[in-house]
């Protein structure tokens, strides 16, 4: 908890790909609040690895670039070995707020839910483009149709889940499709879930790094293919 010092019950999992500009400052600000921080360097071609080494976070190096979903799975598998109860997925580009993480951990500690999902549409979104807003709305409809989950935001990188989820989760979609896949897992295993509002700050940096809109076609195709193939 914030007031009583550093949280030792939760681990923050941060996939990193070419984030040398910002990663050290993001990680350092997280380390002020959490003892366990894991960075997965997903084969960055810049100085991300060196930047992470300057901080006190665990660093796992992917030998090749495998995508954000694959990096999350690696982080989760490494985190299973740590003495923690709660697992947080967090973006390296500084768009998430630590205060939101505290709120989510407080919520999961009550034990009513297995996974807490951040939603930027329940909360405040700063600097989002109109096209991105429409796309994210479409993603909600798509997700409801394919998983049956009622959500307001399906592609939010901020999630908190308990050990039960962490021990069982197996993300196979290496790229951005993993967000849909995680929801499929939640629906499939009937995990108790809830969304809570979080603030996402779209800075110039995160906008530049964000995924392109046409990638939605790839995500949709792979999700449908996964539905029909065994």
């Amino acid at each position: 908890m914030k007031k009583s010092g550093v949280d030792t019950e939760a681990v923050i999992i941060i996939p990193v790909y070419n984030e040398a500009e910002v990663v050290a400052s993001v990680v350092n600000s997280v380390l002020k609040h959490f003892k366990y921080v894991i960075c997965i360097n997903d084969g960055s071609r810049d100085a991300s690895s060196e930047e992470i080494k300057k901080t006190g976070a665990y660093l796992i190096e992917h030998p090749i670039n495998m995508g954000q979903g694959a990096a999350l799975q690696t982080g989760i598998e490494f985190a299973r070995q740590l003495p923690v109860k709660y697992f947080v997925t967090f973006d390296a580009d500084g768009q998430h707020r630590i205060s939101d993480v505290h709120t989510m951990i407080k919520k999961i500690k009550k034990g009513d839910f297995d996974i807490i999902l951040g939603s930027r549409f329940l909360g405040e979104t700063i600097g989002i483009s109109a096209s991105k807003r429409i796309l994210l709305k479409l993603a909600i409809w798509f997700s409801k149709t394919t998983t049956g989950l009622s959500l307001t935001d399906t592609h939010n990188g901020l999630r908190v889940f308990n050990k039960k989820v962490a021990d069982n989760i197996q993300i196979t979609q290496p790229d951005m499709t993993h967000a849909s896949e995680i929801l499929e897992i939640v629906a499939d295993k009937k995990y108790k879930y809830v969304e809570i509002p979080v603030t996402i700050e779209y800075t110039d940096y995160s906008r530049r790094k964000g995924q392109s809109i046409v990638n939605a076609v790839n995500i949709g195709f792979d999700t449908l293919l996964r539905k029909v193939s065994k």
Binding site: Y58, E61, P63, A70, T74, E77, F78, L225, S229, K230
Partner: protein, 113 residues
């Protein structure tokens, strides 16, 4: 009346797609080989007897033999493309699991876990 070819082509397309998407059993793989041999055989016959494709085409209700070949080729290509895409995903999955294992073992060594 629905031309026979529509039923045959659509049926074949659905069967092949279902086959590709389904479990990779020995039977499924065997069927793929049989289909491939059949296709190769049909190709040889089509070259040796150019009129035959026209006759078959008329019989099943297609205008020209060339159209029939085009349908067959399209089905074969889609099956191939889908098969290749799925195999690519399976191979990638295996590679990534291996890379993940390496990354975690290396990190464990570094952090003495």
């Amino acid at each position: 009346m629905i031309p026979v070819v529509q039923i045959v082509v659509i049926g074949a397309a659905l069967f092949l797609v279902a086959n590709v998407l389904g479990r990779q059993t020995y039977a499924a793989r065997a069927w793929k080989k049989i289909a491939l041999s059949f296709l190769a055989g049909a190709m040889v016959i089509a070259v040796l007897f150019p009129d035959l494709t026209n006759q078959i085409a008329h019989f099943v209700g297609v205008g020209r033999g060339a159209d029939l070949l085009l349908y067959g080729l399209t089905i074969a290509f889609i099956t191939y493309a889908l098969n290749d895409y799925l195999r690519g995903q399976r191979d990638r999955d295996a590679l990534y699991r291996l890379a993940r294992r390496v990354a975690i073992l290396e990190a464990n060594k570094r952090y003495d876990i």
